[in-house]
Amino acid sequence: MKQYDAVIIGAGHNGLVAAGYLQRSGLKVLVLERNDHIGGATTSISRYEDFTYSNCSYVCSLFRQEIARSLELYKYGLQVIPYAGGAQIIKNDDGSYDAMGTYWHDDANRRDLERFSKRDTNAYDRLNRDIIRQCKFIKPLLMRTPADPTSFKPRDLMELLYLGKRFYGLGKEQMHETMRFYTMSVADYLNEYLENDALKSYLAGGATVGTALGVYSPGTAYILLHHAMGDLDGNVGAWGFARGGMGAISKALNDSFLAAGGHVRLNAGVSNFTVEHGKVKGMQLENGETVKADLVVSGMDVRRTFNAIDANELPQWVVDRAKNFRFRGSSGKVNIALDGLPSFYGIPKDSPCMTGDLHISQSMDELELAYDDWKAGRWSQDPYLDMLIPSLVDPTMTPQGKHWMSVFIQYCPYKLAEGDWNEDRKNAFGNHIIDRISQFSPDFKEKVLHMEIRTPKDIEDETGLTEGNIFQGELTMDQLMFNRPIPGYAQYRTPISGLYMCGSSTHPGGGVMGAPGANAAREVLLDLGKRMVP
């Protein structure tokens, strides 16, 4: 059997990033993937005729530019098309509809906002300035290994010093603002700036994506960063579609990795790791085969990774921490094939807003009520929906004249109070979403050709994300930075020598960033005494 220097578990985007860096840095790398396709939750899949869906993650922004450049992803075919706007559909008290558009062009943006609130138009600039300020503080930390605050090692002390310096560099007032920003609820935060419900709910909804928290929960404000932290080719805050769907990112990563000489094996799920004297020796595959390796980097989430190790090989507290790491499935998704472009109340059909994210939540109370439903174990009656029609800007994904729509749903529980998910309940959920959209789109129902309904359970079954948590674990304060995934093992290492983690369970977390993969590769190479290339 062929020997590899390193084996990566899982061909998700983080696994492929880590693989790419390690291969380019001179190791012989093998990637093992459980499914018959690469990508994990970053995939493009055909589920109906000639339609291609980005069936899990669906938009791109947070992916680190430095990784895309290092691994030459643009050379391997990655194209990201920014979307030109978005809209919040508003149902007026008299039953009429309107839409507040957001546009890439600032003047257009202001003009539309001014129709609703002159005051907010100015406040919105202030809000964005303050959020960008927070971004500047946090962004450099994404590609750094978090310091262990209990350690007296020079490296950790230096890193803590760096962090402290940056923090104190903010100045007294901004330090306070930063602390507030990271601990308050998005509703409170927005209320301090804005008055218009439509604008507030447009922004607030995004701060609950993927988390089991509501807009009134403390600790949600900072998630607003996700809307401003990304960039596309240097356009700060821009979001876009990967041409060909999110799978294009995985494909470019994969092609780059293969071109550097790496190998990928599909249908090769790992059932458990072989550990001897605290050192990893290899793994057993689900088909019974064994693969030998002294260096393993797991892209699986922390619970799955540790579940694949004999508990006797691990300290009890690590087993407990992995067990208690919180994955909360809270998001659902419906991918819909459409027989033509549906119309939405309040939005002209040729409006650039249609190419972006469409929202229908009317108020923050409505968003919070959606969360109350989740807490009670039901899908939200009036969920936050993030609707996008990527085929408007990327015609490669559907047949001519047809469209596909990606609907992200917050909240949908992993476990229902009434019992386990089954076909009936799943269909009821899907139909509920279609009905909800139809309230804002008169011709929607008649255009639906096919829909793929994805509950957290489905997401777990297909991608291996525990409980279908899209970030491989909640992004709450107790699970961030040096606490992610386990205090003491937040530097991509594990108690098992030679076993590393590179999934979104590690710092800085999920969101198709690629940073965990790159950081893990750097740590692996550090231990091998090698420099990361490039």
Binding site: T150, E173, M175, D188, P218, G219, K375, T476, M477, D478
Partner: protein
């Protein structure tokens, strides 16, 4: 010509009185001005019915430091405790009550694993409380690192956490930002037990158990137990008003003047210095400095003219969260009530109605939308069981904190209160089936009523919500975290300051000590 005082303290709450006592004992002249006719602020007494004394604000004493009580000789000033170390009993509809007595949990539904876990849990929490505790007694450290003193203060806080040892420091840094719901899930199985413990993080606050930072508020409460001289949860003889009365006596004995019925209209400011106050009657009283025991919002949005403040500062004060969610229920009962599963010995305990953490969330949910819960969670005590002076003629007083009421400023306030009183009684009836027949007098205070009676903005017990962004050097905002304010000679000494709410007196003492040291 009235006498000129060195200090005017606005508000005769327990912190204002403690501040007065410490200042007077150091030889300063102090005038305390209290808007209402009784002293005590939220730790006061009043008659609910002839011969029945109620503590309408706080009803238990559990956070006042033993050394503060000793320093002010409160026992010599007639403060005694009618009961100490109250047990906590979590009531159950089926009578399977769970009793918490120190480290021991008893109850037919509690597993041995949970009993053992409770010992472990207490040990862990005590450890973390000890790390946090010292910072909650001294002045808040400053976040600045300009001087060596500031650096040492911060390093001291860091060191007290590092001293926990590597494993426990990591654990501390993990759980401190966590929500209590998840933490309790890690320790325990029994849902009723979890709910009873969870409520101790939530009384008086705005949020539910799933809200981030609820572990912090739990540790904050535990820190109170740790410093109160082993009296645990105690019931002062004669009601909570007796605590304030004792502090007032201590202050008076040292020379403090206290005027009740003297509502301050504004704080007089000249050249950015506080020079005195003007009363609603138009009377102006001058002093070297003014110390406000009122909450920060009242102090800076009502008592000080905004002309004297920066807009940024005013905005910070305006944005402080003071949304009280706790109400109070008072019932005069014709005889001792019978709660399912509670014997007469335990009737004097603290009884909790909170069946599961999910039901706590269900009670919390409506309050987010300014609605009332259908099954409220309650902390019930029967003060008259431990203290006969509370109610005469064999009658009994039931006093309960009713958690998660909205601040009701709708026109339907009256009707809502009446309707909600029935909801609360329905809830009580599930646990004490005969209680309705025993009721002679009933009173329900909503957060808005509490604001009316005690003056705290939003009816919030802690003046300002106790959460990360308003904790330690950020309480209530960095500029006010060490009792001084942007206006020279205007100080704060209330619960809105570090360390925060509960009948504690530390904020008053710290303010006094700071002033005696020269105000820096």
């Amino acid at each position: 010509m009235t006498r000129r005082f060195q200090n005017i303290i606005i508000g005769a709450g327990h912190n204002g009185l403690a501040c007065a006592a410490y200042l007077s004992r150091a030889g300063q002249s102090v005038l305390v001005l209290e808007a209402s006719d009784v002293i005590g602020g939220a730790a006061r007494n009043r008659d609910l019915a002839p011969g029945v004394t109620v503590s309408p604000g706080a009803h238990l004493l559990h956070a006042m430091p033993a050394d503060l009580m000793r320093e002010l000789n409160l026992s010599e000033h007639d403060l005694s405790l009618a009961a100490t170390d109250l047990n906590t009993v979590s009531l159950a509809v089926n009578g399977e009550a769970i009793t918490f007595d120190g480290d021991t949990v008893t109850g037919s539904a509690v597993s041995d694993a949970d009993k053992a876990a409770y010992v472990r849990f207490n040990k862990d929490m005590h450890r973390f409380t000890k790390a946090l505790g010292p910072a909650l007694e001294k002045l808040a450290p400053e976040i600045a690192i300009e001087t060596w003193k500031q650096r040492l203060d911060l390093m001291g806080l860091g060191w007290s956490i590092r001293k926990l040892g590597r494993y426990h420091m990591r654990e501390f840094l993990r759980i401190i930002g966590m929500n209590f719901y998840d933490l309790l899930d890690e320790y325990f199985e029994n849902p009723q037990m979890k709910a009873a413990i969870a409520m101790d993080a939530l009384w008086g606050g705005e949020w539910g158990a799933r809200s981030m930072g609820s572990v912090l508020t739990y540790l904050y409460r535990m820190a109170g137990y740790a410093r109160n001289g082993d009296v645990g949860i105690a019931q002062p003889k004669g009601g909570m008003g007796a605590v304030s009365a004792a502090i007032a006596k201590a202050a008076k004995a040292a020379g403090t003047d206290i005027r009740t019925g003297a509502r301050v209209k504004q704080i007089l400011v000249e050249n950015d210095h506080a020079v005195g106050v003007e009363l609603e009657t138009g009377e102006r009283i001058e002093a070297d400095r003014v110390i406000s025991n009122a909450d920060p919002k009242q102090t800076f949005m009502k008592l000080v003219s905004p002309d004297h403040l920066d807009t940024g500062f005013v905005r910070q004060i305006k944005n402080l969260r003071a949304r009280g969610k706790a109400g109070k229920l008072h019932l005069v009962l014709s005889s001792a009530p019978k709660f399912k599963g509670v014997d007469t010995v335990n009737l004097g305990s603290r009884m909790i109605i909170a069946p599961t953490m999910d039901e706590i969330e269900l009670a919390f949910n409506p309050s987010k939308y300014k609605k009332y819960p259908t099954a409220p969670v309650l902390e019930i005590i029967m003060p008259s069981v431990n203290d006969e002076s509370i109610a005469s003629d064999g009658r009994h007083l039931l006093s309960a904190v009713v958690q998660y009421l909205p601040y009701d400023d709708t026109p339907d306030e009256e009707a809502n209160r009446t309707a909600f009183l029935e909801t609360v009684l329905d809830q009580l009836e599930r646990y004490a089936p005969d209680i309705r027949k025993q009721i002679i007098e009933a009173e329900l205070l909503t957060p808005r009523d509490i604001e009316r009676e005690f003056g705290m903005t939003g009816g919030h017990w802690h003046h300002v919500e106790l959460v990360f962004e308003t904790f330690l050097f950020n309480r209530p905002i960095p500029a006010l975290s060490r009792h001084t304010s942007p206006i020279t000679d205007l100080y704060l000494c209330g619960a809105g300051c570090h360390p925060g709410g509960n009948v504690m007196g530390i904020a008053g003492r710290n303010a006094a000590q700071l002033i005696l040291k020269g105000g820096k």
